[in-house]
Subunit: 643 residues, 2 copies
Amino acid sequence: MTGVYKLTFGEPESITPTKYKEISKIELSDATKFNIGSINFKKTLRGCRLEIPLEFDEEVYGFGLQLNGFNHKGSKKMMRPNADPVSNSGDSHAPVPFYCTNKYYGIYVDTARYAEFYCGYGKNKNRPAVPNNTVITNAEELYKKTGYTEKTVMVIDIPVAKGVDIYIFEGESITDVVAKYNMFSGGGCMPPLWGLGVSYRCNAKYTDNQVIKMADYFRERKMPCDIIGLEPGWQSSSYSCSYVWDNERYPNYKELIRYLRNSNFNINLWEHAFVNSISPLYQKLHDFSGTYEVWKGITTDFAGETARDIFSEYHKNKFVDEGITGFKLDECDGSDFTGGWSFPNCDEFPSGVDGEQMHSLFGILYQKTILKALGNQRTFSEVRNSGAFAAPYPFVLYSDLYDHKVFIRGLATAGFSGLLWVPELRRAKNKKDLLRRLQTVVFSPRVIINAWNTEEAPWIKLGAGDEVRELLELRMSLVPYVYSAFYRYHKHGVPPIRALVSDYSDDENTYNIDDEYMFGDSMLVAPMTVDEDKRMVYLPGDAWYDFWTDKKYERGWHEVQTDNIPVYIKKDSVIPLAEPMQYISKDTVFQITLKCYGDKGKTVLVEDDGETHATRYKEIEIDFNGFREETQRYELKRIQCCV
Amino acid sequence: MTGVYKLTFGEPESITPTKYKEISKIELSDATKFNIGSINFKKTLRGCRLEIPLEFDEEVYGFGLQLNGFNHKGSKKMMRPNADPVSNSGDSHAPVPFYCTNKYYGIYVDTARYAEFYCGYGKNKNRPAVPNNTVITNAEELYKKTGYTEKTVMVIDIPVAKGVDIYIFEGESITDVVAKYNMFSGGGCMPPLWGLGVSYRCNAKYTDNQVIKMADYFRERKMPCDIIGLEPGWQSSSYSCSYVWDNERYPNYKELIRYLRNSNFNINLWEHAFVNSISPLYQKLHDFSGTYEVWKGITTDFAGETARDIFSEYHKNKFVDEGITGFKLDECDGSDFTGGWSFPNCDEFPSGVDGEQMHSLFGILYQKTILKALGNQRTFSEVRNSGAFAAPYPFVLYSDLYDHKVFIRGLATAGFSGLLWVPELRRAKNKKDLLRRLQTVVFSPRVIINAWNTEEAPWIKLGAGDEVRELLELRMSLVPYVYSAFYRYHKHGVPPIRALVSDYSDDENTYNIDDEYMFGDSMLVAPMTVDEDKRMVYLPGDAWYDFWTDKKYERGWHEVQTDNIPVYIKKDSVIPLAEPMQYISKDTVFQITLKCYGDKGKTVLVEDDGETHATRYKEIEIDFNGFREETQRYELKRIQCCV
């Protein structure tokens, strides 16, 4: 693989993310433009330390899903998995020891330790005396950027390890660098077509009959819905889990599965990996679990193949074979900010992994285990922790945090590290809040409405049913376009959603924009929250067209006032829009309108079985004149041009 | 010292807090009631681990200043110094690896590492299967207590170290246990009398003339004030510091000092320990500083005696000898939650201490250095980081956080670990907020009004001058009482401010009360915030008297509605109240009213020079009949009884 270079310092640990990577054998470059002689390595009492130079005008992105930070230059980031980190400390549902800069490279540090990255610290201890008696009387300003106008260093503090491998990725833009990292990870995931539709997670206390009622509601009201999710109540014990249907709430679960599948719903089941003593898995996993209890359950040692096999075999037999096609893997992150419910960092697992390493690997290994249970069946599922080399896993991240601005930032940051983030809709404080949030959700990797703690769908009391249906139909129109974006992720590693700086790494206007993002290759999305009636939108590159009005905009900053979500189409693009449908099945044929913007343009639609890993992908080239290939999946209805 | 027992596991590190403790030689007990055989120790890859049993009904307190947590049972706490930690993670301005429980013991773990304490985790991996299909639909409830009804373990994870010393303290109550810990630390600090008066910190941009105008304001309006504090603007460079008076704002600083001292003000100067290149200290400390810059300055290596000597000698000559009697030591904590401005954990200092250890020791060593500069002059100063064995240091902790409830909790938690916390008054959103906050400040170790970023005193625009004067006068009345409380801290280690559970460790009603506290031995304070017009107050033990109305209350919960701050006097107490004064000088004579509650009671007043370490303390016993000793400092005016 060109543009991927490996360097080894000291004696690396044996348990690191590369050990569990989806593809292991990749040929690497034998040269790099990066000045590797400028990197310092040192063993310390605490572990080891790297120093890598940063230019004064070098900006730093990445480190996984970062909900409270975007451009990390000048700040410290700790790679520690945590639920609901409320501050910009690096702690994250999915921290990744990988960063990339506007100097067209990225560095991955291969460690499962809670490495700390000090992104641009000064080492000049021989400064000239320059008088400056300015006084600042504002705490925020005091503690912000350090304002270096010279070279600094990226200091990387790796606990415990006496050495480490690093990988340098080089490319033409941050997107290109990240694509290489994703291909090195095994390529982006390819969700099933139905995974791009609408997911609705039912109240945790619902019974089988209430779930059926909810499913009927969608079909009767002709509201799109592809996936019904069940929250903890489906199990006979949760916190910790039994992985057994509850007799009281789900006496007829087989009937429920049959009914939902026949009504073209996929079913997703909530769980976590802490096994309750009433579970059939408790005795089987007893010897393959950590030292300490979590919610009085045992922690599955996913780092060992035996535990993975026991867990996945059970899930295959009990759930996948019965018709379940997705899972929501909860609480596999950490708990420094949420009461300390998870296993200690000093925990010990039979596989030889300790608690710190396990926290860094837990989400990835859990996903791996569940994928094995699913076999040939593709899924688009949820997970609350992920980490390095996550791109191949068809899981989206979510959070108990709920600030809408924070959720939008997650969309902009997740793509730097091979992650997918969903700003799910839960309760809303009013109708406007609900619609603003749902607008963002529609332009995200997955549409999840999570009503786990509301008695009925969150739009009912707010009287927003019609507007919600309209937004969900918009999403269904976008499914072919999004599917193509995922195909590019799968085949070339290009993240389907990216911050502007990722594509426009030369344009310094983009360096701190954390509330706009590319949605696929041709759409720029700039969501708004309940508190906004207007906002500034930056359009990089050349010209753009307003998705709603077809009005043309030049590059630059524009003030936008709208109740709708600002979406722009890049000049010289063609967007395939489908007639909205209720759900997607194996036989779905999309009725396509090609929307053409500018003078020319082409793209690709993908045809496959939409459901299994065994499928063959056929690329359908399309341009301003229509389809260039035969296809059964898509039917061209009309072409609309906009100049 | 009886009731203090030491145990060594493995090979402890050489750099730990005991190395820098104020008194080194203390004879320890050679026996303990604690079942030391029940403690497990293990070396791990990460460092080492201790397991100490906890009873199911054992509650856990301490770990230093904890602003977001109180009873730590069932949760995780990390001992990492940090500015403004917004969540209940253990991170603190002053974390201390010392906890105590309602089972009448405390354990101090001698480490400068960021140890993690898992306060009651389960290890039972052979649970019987007990069906329970309850479903919780509330995130807060999900993640709260684990509800063990059996023994659990306190798991202590100590990074890096291959061994550790622990000290077990035993006593009759938590207060007794903590007092032993404080005496082991070297005894509580004894502030100067003037330190118990009012401190006013001026706007950071003030000039010498503006400071004089502010000082005159206090004397003209007859508002009590003992200390004038100067914020960064006094220096020719701040962030990082020059430690040199600024020519522009303070051309006549010597005149300013003379004027303020003659008007009976003490002067306190803001600084931090990051040395700017224009400072005379820069070259001197160059070889005695850390590897990385902080705010383009160097970090003083306080762990080495040379750096301490250079720093303290400079402060003695330039400031103490010129009449400065106090310092505010800012930003010596850490910066995981505030942008990462501080030195890295992997920093290296010439003394051999690394960044992690230095963060744990920095505040204590900084205080030690400043105390040395002050020589025989007593002080009551401010510091933003402290740690283990802090009791002897006459410094109070403060924070940029500002939630009033959080500030009240700080008063309840600081006393578990030999720390003093000040809920300083800054801006207020309205008059009620200002007065509610000031009420709490009056019943705290020090009265600090910090106007660093307000143009004028924060009460002016709110028209609250009269009410503020009244509250400050109340504080001045309490000075002899508070001075006695500090004397007990100094001589016997008993913290002047304590959570109710500390004195009433048997009463389970007190186990989670984080918004009431003992103020000295006879007063119970239950502050209220701007959002409250009434509150519930729990009164433990026997009967109490309302401080304002003299009404008698029995033990138990009471609803209180008042604009004032609820304060109660313990039955059978005598409280010495002084006529309020503008300031306290060497010759101040307190005009005392003895307020007697109940049937009998006695206490002690302290007479000394009020200013130096060289003084002799004379105890003046007082009871319902008046003074039992001769004294020049106090004059008995009247005795008031209340039955």
